[in-house]
C-alpha cells in the first residue's frame, strides 16, 4: 500500500535469502552441500535418530535473522557448526500445531481438524520404521506436549496394518496423575497448561485415567522423585526433556520424537514471553544434543533433526497481527528451516534449495533403511 511497508517486506525477503549467510558469518565458513555417493553408502544398521520439533511456531526474524540470533546462541554457536542446515523448508499444509506435526510424521499433509482428537490418516514414520525393520514397540517413542497429540503415534489404520505405532507419552498427563491430591497441586499448573492457542476450551488438565504404573514401569521413577524433580522445572518443555532423558536411559529407543511447544505462548500477545520461549527451546536443543553425546547408547550413532513445525505471521500482513498467531498462511508463516547433526552428517554445510516439510519422513527412511511408500515428500539427499 505504501512504499515504507513495501521496503520492509523486501527486507524480509532479503532476510530469508541471507540469514544463514549472516548466521554462518558468526561461526565461520559454511560450505554449500555437495552430495557424496560414498557418504550415502555408510552402513545404516545401529543408527539412531532423534527428531526435535522446535515448536510451536518460530519466525526467522526472532531466530536466524540477524536481529534474532541473540535468542538462539546454542543453535548458532554449538549446533550449526556441526550441522547441515537447510535454509528453506516450506510447510504447504495446515498451520495448526497438531495437524502440522502429524504431517511431519506421516510425510503427507494431513487435513483433519487441528483441534480434533483423531489419529493421522496416513501411516506414520513410526509404523514404517517398526514394520520395515521389525522393531519392538519400545524402540520408538513420541514425547508430545498436549492432549491433542496423544494419537500421533499411529495412523487411523485405513492405509496400514495396525499394531506398529509408537507409544506416545504425554509428560503433563503423567505429572497430573502423579500429583493426584497433592496439597500444593496449584503450584504445578504452569507445567500442566495444555494449550496456549485455545485456553478456554482446553483448560488445565483435570484428573485423568493415566495409570501411575506408567510412571514406575516405563520411566522407573517413583511418584515422589517425579514430582520433586518437576518442582525444579520452569516449563512444560523442560518436563518433556526430563521425560526424554528417562526414556533414553530405560529403552534407548532408536527413533525418538519430541515436540517442544513453549513458544506458542505467543498467542497471548506478549512478545517478551514469546522470546523467552524461543530462548528456552534453544537451550533445550543444546541440552538434548549434549544428552545424546553423553549417552554411550547414542553417542557416535545418532542423527538429530531439529525443525519448526512452521513459522508465525509476518509483521507486514495486514490480515494477521505479526508474531502473535499463525493464521494468515503467508510465506513467512510457512517458511522455516531444518538442521541435521550426527556422525554421518556433513558439518557446517548449508542446503539452500527449497525443501518441503513432508520431506522429513522419506529422509528418515533413507537414513535408517526402511521404506516409506505413502509419504509424499522427497528424500533430502544432502543429509543421507
Amino acid at each position: 500500500m505504501i512504499e515504507n511497508l513495501r521496503q520492509i517486506a523486501q527486507q524480509t525477503a532479503w532476510t530469508r535469502r541471507d540469514f544463514l549467510r549472516s548466521a554462518a558469518g558468526a561461526i565461520g565458513y559454511a560450505a554449500t552441500s555437495h552430495v557424496s555417493p560414498l557418504h550415502a553408502a555408510v552402513r545404516q544398521q545401529g543408527r539412531k535418530t532423534v527428531v526435535v520439533t522446535f515448536g510451536g511456531g518460530a519466525r526467522d526474524v526472532e531466530t536466524f535473522a540477524p536481529s534474532g540470533q541473540e535468542n538462539i546462541p546454542h543453535l548458532i554457536q554449538e549446533l550449526i557448526p556441526q550441522a547441515t542446515f537447510c535454509t528453506q523448508v516450506v510447510n504447504h499444509g495446515i498451520l495448526g500445531h497438531y495437524v502440522a506435526t502429524a504431517s511431519l510424521a506421516t510425510g503427507v499433509y494431513e487435513t483433519f481438524d487441528n483441534f480434533a482428537l483423531v489419529a493421522p490418516n496416513h501411516p506414520t514414520v513410526f509404523e514404517y520404521y517398526r514394520k520395515g525393520l521389525g522393531r519392538p514397540p519400545n524402540d520408538v517413542w513420541v514425547i508430545a506436549p498436549s492432549n491433542g497429540f496423544n494419537r500421533i503415534g499411529q495412523s487411523s489404520g485405513a492405509n496400514f496394518a495396525r499394531g506398529y505405532g509408537a507409544p506416545v507419552i504425554l509428560p503433563k498427563h503423567l505429572l497430573n496423575a502423579a500429583l493426584g491430591e497433592h496439597p500444593n497441586r496449584g503450584a504445578f499448573n504452569f507445567l500442566l497448561q495444555d494449550s496456549y492457542e485455545d485456553p478456554m476450551s482446553t483448560p488445565v488438565l483435570g484428573h485423568t485415567d493415566v495409570p501411575l504404573s506408567r510412571l514406575t514401569d516405563v520411566l522407573h521413577l517413583s511418584v515422589e522423585d517425579f514430582t520433586r524433580h518437576a518442582q525444579t522445572l520452569s516449563s512444560a518443555d523442560e518436563l518433556s526433556v526430563y521425560v526424554m532423558r528417562q526414556l533414553m536411559r530405560q529403552f534407548a529407543p532408536s527413533l525418538l520424537w519430541i515436540t517442544l511447544h513453549d513458544m506458542d505462548v505467543a498467542h497471548a500477545g506478549a512478545y517478551s514471553l514469546y522470546i523467552e520461549g524461543i530462548q528456552r527451546t534453544d537451550r533445550l536443543c543444546g541440552e538434548i544434543w549434549r544428552m545424546i553425546q553423553n549417552d554411550p547408547e547414542y553417542h557416535g550413532r545418532t542423527t538429530m533433526f531439529i525443525l519448526p513445525d512452521f513459522g508465525r505471521d509476518s509483521d507486514m500482513d495486514a490480515s494477521g497481527n505479526g508474531f502473535q498467531h499463525h493464521r494468515t498462511g503467508d510465506a513467512l508463516s510457512r517458511t522455516t528451516w531444518m538442521m541435521a547433526l550426527g556422525p554421518h552428517i556433513r558439518q557446517n554445510t548449508t542446503v539452500n534449495r527449497p525443501l518441503d516439510s513432508v520431506d522429513l519422513v522419506p529422509t528418515l527412511g533413507a537414513l535408517m533403511g526402511f521404506q516409506t511408500p505413502g509419504a509424499k515428500g522427497r528424500t533430502i539427499v544432502e543429509v543421507i
Binding site: S67, G96, T111, G269, A270, S272, L273, N321, F323
Partner: protein
Amino acid sequence: MRPQDLRAKSFAKYPPQARAFAVANLAVLRQVPLSLLPILLREMIDYDWRFPVEQRVLTRQFQYLASLPQPSFANLMAPFAAVRLPAAIGKMDWVNQPQRFSEQLSGLLWSMQQMDAYRAAALTYQKTLEQVLVEPVPAISRLSIVVIGQGVPHSDRVLFRKLRPHGTIFTKVQPEDGMATLIGVVNDRAREHPAPYAHWYIDGGEPEPGCGLPQGVTLTSYHALAPAALKELNLTSRFVQQSSARSGVGPEAVQSFMAGLGPSDLGLHGDPSQTALRHFEVNVLTEGAGAQVFSTTFVQWTAREALRRAQPLTLFARFAPRQRMAPMEELLKRDPLTQKTDPEGSLIDADMGAYYTWINQQRLSGADRSCFLAWYEGHDIAVAIGPGLAKGTVSDSPANLRKIVAWMS
C-alpha cells in the same frame, strides 16, 4: 439458502440501519458467491454501531460493486466463485450468523487445502478495492504517539530497534512534564479538528486525567475494561463447562459464544453517544487473544483495531506494566489489576507494540505525511518518524517533546 434466494425479509433480525443497508443493496448481495458473502455480512450486520469511517467505506464498497458492469463484476467474483464448498455449509444460517459461518469457512478452507487460493482471492479483491476506492488524505497529518516503559526506572535494552531505520532517535529528550505535554498535543489536535472518533487515547493502566470525552478524545483503558474482561472470561468459562457437560466444546463454539456477547453482557454502559465505542470495546475483548489478561496486549491490539477501523487522525497509546505470567488457568480467573506486575517484560512487549502501531498507521491514507513518536516514559530517549525528520539518524541535541512533535511534520 443460496445468495440468489435472499429477500428483504431475510434481514428481519438485523438492527435497523443494518437492515436498511442490506435491503438497499439486495441486488448486489444476491450475486456475491457464498464464500465471500457472509464476510461482507459480518461488516453489515454491525452497521448500526460501526464507526463513521467504517460506514462510509462499506457504503462506497457497495456503490462500487453496484456500478460494475456484469462482466466486470463476475470477473471480480470469479476467484471466490471457484472456491469449492460442501453443501452442508450452505445450510447454516449465514445471514444471521455470518461470524459463525466465517469460522467454519476458515476451517474448511484449511482442511480442503484451499486456503492459499482463497487468500490470493481475498488479496486481489482487497487490492482492487484499494485502487478504486482510494481513501481521502486527511486534512492534517495523522499522528500516533506511543509511550512505553512505565515502571521501569532503568533499562539497558536498545529500545526502538525496529523503528530506528525509519526515523530519528533523540537521546537527550527533556522528560519533565512529558505526559502533560503529549496530552496537550492530543487535546490541541482534537480541539482544532473535531470529529467523531478521530482522536484516541488508549491507556494500559489508569488513564491520565484531562484527556477524554470532554476534550473531544475517545478514551478507553485497561483499567476501565479489566472488570469487563474478567466478566467475559467467567461467562465463557461457564459456557464451556456447561457445554462440556453435554457434548464437549470446540474452539469454534467458544468463539461463536464470545462473538454473541454485547456491551450489556459485560457490564459496559455509559454515554449513549458512545455506543460505537462500547461495541468496539466488546470486540477488542472478545476477538483479541490475550487482550483480556495482559494490559500490554490490550494496548497493542486496541491501537491496531482503532487504526484499522476508525482511521483516527490522532492516536495516543500508553503502555503500562502487565501482570506477571502465570498458568493460564490462573490468568483466566484472577483480577489482573491486583497482581504483581512484570515491568521489564512489559517494556519488551511495548517496544514491539510501538513498532506494530507504526506499521498499522502506515496502512492508512496519507501515510507519507504521517507522523509517529515513541517515547520511553520519564526518560531521555524517543524515536520520531515523519516527513520533517531524517531516517536512520541520531540527534544528541536536547529537546522537549513539544519541539520534537513540531519537527516531525
